[in-house]
Amino acid sequence: MTVRIEPGLHQSKQAHAPLRRALRRARTRQRRGLMWALQRLNLTVGGLLIGTLLLTALFAPLLAVAPPDAIAPASRFQPPGLAHPFGTDGLGRDLFSRVVYGARTALQMAVPAVMIGSFSGIILGLLAGYYCGPLDQILSRIMDAWLALPGLLLAIVFVALLGPSLQTTVIALGLVGIPGYYRMVRNGTLSTREMLYVEAARTMGLGDGRILLRHILPNLTSPLVVLITLRLGTVILAGGALSFIGLGAQPPTPEWGALLASGRDSMDRAWWVAFFPGMAITASVMGFNLLGDGLRDLLAPEMAQDHRTHAGADEDECGS
């Protein structure tokens, strides 16, 4: 990056010196690029895995060998082979196609769920951190209670309320995520609201909404991007678990957890039905985890300490 001026080269009698220098620089840059990718192995591998997931979801109709719901009783429980890369299930459906379409289901589940959670958490966190007072007291207590329970337990209560379906899973997992965003945004807002530039914006007579969205929120972008990335993985895992026990996406939706559950009873005859969807979940969740870790090291290294502090305690108290 830094151009070093080497005194000797200026007076060099070699005519090709500039060219050589350019070549050497290009080579170092290339090596640096490789080193960069290696040093940030989690970012690279995570990016590749998530890239594959997105492309698979996008081009599912092109990749799939057969329509995911096409039943073919003649070819039940075919082992993996050329015609069926992942084999077929008990109804003769091509498992590879169902796993490929499962990528769509996974994103249809994870993206809206994370949007619900992050949107509500960010708004509430901004308000609580900025206005403090009773609003913050009440919201923070509610979020504490929310956070005190295992996430999947809350999701199950919602399912009990609304009945099992993909939509319920999305809503439940979205709501379960709110306190995480809330806590991060509330504490972040609290520590920025007294900053000089926020003070300046207030002195200029800007409205609260503008200050919150244009001056405070942008400062929280990096940790939020990291949290959202990690949450996407968590939601895919949790959604898979809910569907697996029958409380999430219902058959015949090609959902990875539901696919695994359908392979459970025929495991002694057809191991592949209970195998490949699990690979897909693992790869996607690992992709989001690695990508999130990599982004954290890159964008918000101060977050690395977060997991070591007590999850239950608020660091800053709302002052005047």
């Binding site: 337990l153 678990a241 695994l260 495991m267 209970a274 195998f275 699990g278 979940i281």
Partner: protein, 309 residues
């Protein structure tokens, strides 16, 4: 210290009150009440009304909540299962024993394996064992437990026929669910122990201890371990709560008759009193564990008890 304890306990009570209220109200909002589940569509409108009033379902929401709470707190009465008619209190207590055994076993295994792996990894960061452990951690956090469970059933239950895969009763029944539950926990523990040890290793007082010539045993035993233990204790407490309240996937797969299995079945049956009872029991346990973690923290770190008052 006493004030700190009282403050934490009051906070825990407030959380429990909030959880019980929310769960109660949410389940009340569910379409169809206990009377519907009990008699279905065969009853006439008058019969339904009679049943509702006999069950107290026609009272206002807040009155029913306070009745429920008084009965639960003072008589330990959580109502009756709509399906089996049994007392919810007995039902959840019975099932909790199984969940407790499973969660505590799994957590012990996870702490032993994960703690050891993390400590050895931290001894030589970037060594081959460290890389191995880190690779395992990354994988362990992404592996769906239900998938691991299926694969273990496939290998050890169906092919090798070494272990029973369904139910409870003998110690052998405990092995597969324990491993499935402990695997991701061990990954998290290893990660935290490693990070925490590396963190403390770089601290000035450790360098001082080394500089004044203390042996590795003293440095580790007196300086490194106690100081790196705090976040691990927090994790164990919080994770144990998650296991006690969130083991229903594993319990469902292995037919383990625990609290989670009960809860899932109750959700399927729309047996709302059981759902409510199970959720509340889990909430009490989780909140109690959180307080316990705080107290242990305050005992280990004298700074906490004082500053918090």
């Amino acid at each position: 210290m006493l004030r700190f304890l009282v403050r934490r306990l009051l906070g825990a009570l407030a959380v429990l009150l909030a959880v019980s209220f929310f769960t109660f109200v949410m389940l009340e909002l569910a379409p169809g009440d206990a009377a519907d589940t009990l008699v279905g569509e065969t009853a006439s409108a008058e019969q339904m009304a009679a049943i509702r009033s006999s069950m107290g379902l026609d009272l206002p929401l807040l009155v029913r909540y306070s009745n429920f709470l008084t009965a639960a707190v003072f008589e330990g009465d959580l109502g009756r299962s709509v399906i089996s008619g049994r007392s919810v209190g007995t039902l959840v207590a019975e099932r909790f024993k199984y969940t407790f055994v499973l969660a505590v076993t799994a957590m012990s295994v996870a702490v032993a394996v994960g703690g050891l792996a993390g400590a050895v990894a931290a001894a030589r960061p970037r060594g081959w064992f460290d890389l191995l452990v880190m690779g395992f951690m990354t994988l362990g956090q992404a592996l769906p437990t239900f998938w691991i469970a299926l694969l273990m059933i496939l290998v050890f239950g169906l092919h090798l026929r070494w272990l029973p895969v369904l139910g409870a009763g003998t110690p052998q029944h405990l092995i597969l669910p324990t491993v499935a539950l402990a695997l991701p926990a061990a990954a998290v523990v290893a990660r935290l122990v490693r990070a925490s040890l590396l963190d403390v290793k770089g601290a000035d007082y450790v360098r001082t201890a080394r500089a004044k010539g203390l042996g590795p045993v003293t440095v580790w035993g007196r300086h490194l371990l106690p100081n790196s233990l705090m976040p691990v204790i927090t994790l164990i407490g919080l994770y144990l709560g998650q296991m006690l309240g969130g083991a229903f996937v594993i319990e469902t797969i292995f037919g383990w008759p625990g609290l989670g299995r009960l809860l899932v079945q109750a959700v399927f049956d729309r047996d709302l009193p059981v759902v409510l009872g199970a959720v509340l029991l889990i909430a009490v346990i989780v909140v109690f564990l959180n307080v316990l973690v705080d107290v242990v923290h305050a005992l280990l770190d004298p700074r906490i008890g004082h500053e918090a008052v």
